[in-house]
Symmetry: C2
Subunit: 234 residues, 2 copies
DNA sequence: TCAAAAGTGTTCACAGTACACCCATGC
DNA sequence: GCATGGGTGTACTGTGAACACTTTTGA
């Protein structure tokens, strides 16, 4: 191991991959970059880390700045460190992905950044290595959402089973049997059935559900069936 | 997003969490830190990143330096970025975890670092936030090994089913039924049965197996049963 | 011949799947 | 009343778990 060294200056940034769902497609929020180089091109939202904040803190700050929203679901994705990934000066970036309710977002949006939603299947060209970052984020989202109850974060507080099913179908680009889907999701005991129905999308109407936040954290691993024994260490 | 800025200097390092298995217990390789501060205390192996290398590159270099081994299983764990995690100067670290065959290691070891193996259940005090890093690495290893054929990397090229089972039992701190364990592992089609037996650990002897490297990469997700449909996007 | 560990066979319960069917409502 | 989408019932299949049983060999 080297001593504390005369390391050449390395800038340290964060980037956020922000997913949303509009009822049809999985979407990604990007902004028009406001400074050189690559000014005017599409880019992930990001920022340099402050002297007294962690990367998590910086990512939350950046997210709040753009969306106006606090307390979003967010997790560290990966650190990107190739020496030449930024064309100006060496910059490493830790990427975070976030899930937001697109409706809530639309009420709070910060237009200064010229943000736009793109379908995950039709992304524009992004600067630097951001396209690769987004690819990794898509993979991780699919991976993780198959094992944990995550996708709720993309929906409004109240949602119907058909809505939830459409979301899963969009994320996995496949179709599910509604009966089996219902039972599987209900078997998690994570959903609270409400009294009222959404009547917009069908004549019969579909009951609203909401996530039982009491059970949410303790059931985060509920989709898992890892190791046979109960006393497996999670 | 800020402009390219006069960010205060941030050092950029990597740390490696190196797991091994001695036939009994899961072990962690640590070194005696060779410079101030905290000189002489136990620490993860690490190093500062070079001007022209990525974090992956730095981690591989550090691993090679210590173990003499190339091509180890290694993956990025997490970036640790708390402003005060290093007491001297702000240093962010991207942690990598690696799996090595403890026998191969013992032939190549670089004693300059004063390395030592500790049982994962009886770790000494580590510098800075390294204890927390190791905790996260343990969790991730358990998580990932439950879903992917990973733990083979901790064994010699030739191993027996009972050895493999013991390894899983050590990692998950539980016991498995040997019949079910055998069938489950064989059902992956990932193992090649060899003609010779290990006669050291039993009278009857246990057949050696080795990983079918042709199938290994394509079957990396074989433990998964994510999404019902075949056309689910992985 | 007996003990010890490797390895196989068998049963059972249950979860996942496919698909038929019933329900509520607007037109 | 009928088309539409929501929701339930059910039969079938395969997997995982438990555990009894057979095999091999050294002492």
């Amino acid at each position: 191991m080297q001593r504390y060294s005369q390391q050449k200056r390395v800038l340290f940034a964060v980037d956020c991959i922000i997913f949303g769902y509009d009822g049809q497609e999985l979407k990604l929020l990007v902004i028009k970059r406001g400074f050189e180089p690559e000014k005017g091109k599409w880019s992930l939202v990001g920022g340099f880390i402050g002297d007294n904040e962690s990367a998590e803190g910086a990512a939350m700050r950046v997210l709040k700045d753009l969306t106006g929203l606090d307390g979003l679901y967010m997790e560290q994705l990966h650190g990107f460190t190739e020496p030449d990934r930024d064309t100006v000066e060496r910059t490493i970036s830790i990427a975070y992905f976030a899930l937001i309710d697109i409706q809530k977002y639309n009420q709070q949006i910060n237009e200064d950044y010229h943000p736009a939603w793109f379908s995950i299947n039709q992304l524009p060209e992004l600067i630097f290595d951001h396209t690769a970052i987004v690819e990794l984020a898509k993979e991780k989202l699919r991976y993780k959402a198959a094992l944990h109850p995550l996708l709720f974060e993309l929906l409004p507080d109240k949602f119907t089973m058909p809505q939830l099913q459409s979301l899963y179908e969009a994320v996995y680009n496949t179709e599910f049997d509604k009966g089996n889907f219902n039972r599987k999701l209900l078997s998690t005991k994570l959903l609270l059935k409400l009294k009222d129905k959404d009547k917009l999308n069908s004549k019969k109407g579909a009951f609203y559900y909401m996530v039982d936040t009491n059970k949410y954290s303790e059931s985060f691993n509920i989709f898992l069936n890892f190791v046979p024994s109960q006393n497996a260490n999670k």
